[in-house]
Symmetry: C2
Subunit: 207 residues, 2 copies
DNA sequence: ACAGCTTGTTGTCGTCCTGTCAATAGTGGG
DNA sequence: CCCACTATTGACAGGACGACAACAAGCTGT
């Protein structure tokens, strides 16, 4: 009779375990509001002791911030595929690429950026602001406008504002189904073209 | 020696007490994230027993939903002051009115709509969706477009999307100070004019 | 003025959640 | 094969939330 010394738990690399917990947390935080998700739930579903969460992330809040950080990280566009044509063409390409990203994340993306709520949270705000900034910079470069040109700050600001419309339009498309992808594509392309080609120059003259 | 029988607590009208608690809750939820605000805090600052909160709002979550509902309620535009001129003029007027509203709420408004986070909360989402819808309807009427015209649903959808840019632009102006009110005014007016006058007609032809 | 009654308000109790920490047990290296 | 390292556990203490029964403020009718 072989004495089965089956271990009660496996010892993993810190990064692996960390990732494991983070994965479950992303799912759960995407399903219910913050307060409704207990660290006990996350631990049980991950199959680890609750204390391990605190060990890796410090606190429930720390884990939450990691989730947010992970979810809002937007991939960088492959700039080699950007056409050399007119502004309108480059804008069209960029918008299409943006919608691809949104489409790929689907409902998960909505669970992140779809819900706004009351509750001043400086940390979360900072994370989201940085993500927006990166996305805006990325878009500006992809479209081919010089970031270093005068009034670059204003340019990025209005592109960030445009980002707000991208999110809202994405929600109309993905969650509510009130607009088709083609319609969203048309609206955003039109708007961004007008913003960069017509409004932005006038904005500089305004000062 | 007059026996001072000073009551330990005053008995208020339900509506008054409710309002009192709600006021403090709005302040506190605006300062810290949901989990950091305890009902004990709210009760202490309001000067009532903690149990009273549960009596009036059922649960902490119930109180929170009331706060959200209260904060996102957008006033209705006074339509008698709307000019009869061209689309561009009416748009300009509407945007100016919108910025007045935002300006009046200031930092409080930002505390509400500024923070997005992870956490799928159907209730909150519904409240915000309804508020967006009302704001969109309101804007459409103010600008003078017939709501009943064909493709009214699409029209409201893209106006709701535009609302996302209004919020984001408002944040740039109010919190970050990266845009002036005049700049925001110009951007939003331009964008909305293009959206309604040029993009929307093409959108209908798309189907 | 006073007793009675309505109901706004309190305080406590049980349950659950979170953060800390010492103890435990996988497991790779010597 | 065994030991040291450390990933992981389990228990403990403080605190938060929701439920509920008891209490008292203040109006009402006499």
């Amino acid at each position: 009779m072989s004495t089965e010394t089956e271990p009660r738990w496996r010892r993993l690399e810190p990064d692996q375990r960390r990732e494991q917990i983070l994965d479950r947390a992303i799912t759960l935080f995407g399903e219910r509001p913050y307060a409704e998700v207990s660290t006990t739930d996350i631990a049980r579903e991950t199959g680890v002791a609750r204390g391990l969460i605190n060990h890796y992330f410090g606190s429930k809040r720390g884990l939450y911030l990691e989730v947010v950080r992970r979810m809002v990280t937007v991939p960088v566009a492959d700039r080699s595929a950007v056409p050399d044509g007119s502004l309108a063409e480059r804008v069209e390409f960029s918008v299409d690429w943006l919608l691809d990203v949104i489409s790929a994340r689907g409902k998960t993306w909505v669970a992140v950026l779809g819900t706004e709520g009351v509750g001043n949270d400086p940390e979360v705000e900072r994370i989201l602001a940085e993500a927006d900034e990166r996305a805006a910079e990325n878009l500006v470069r992809t479209v081919g406008l010089r970031d270093a040109e005068p009034a670059g700050a204003e340019l990025r600001a209005i592109v960030r504002a445009f980002g707000g419309m991208v999110k809202a339009a994405g929600r109309e498309w993905i969650t509510h189904g009130t607009l088709t992808r083609e319609q969203v594509q048309l609206v955003l392309t039109d708007q961004l073209t007008a913003l960069l080609g017509s409004t932005f120059p006038r904005l500089q003259r305004l000062e």
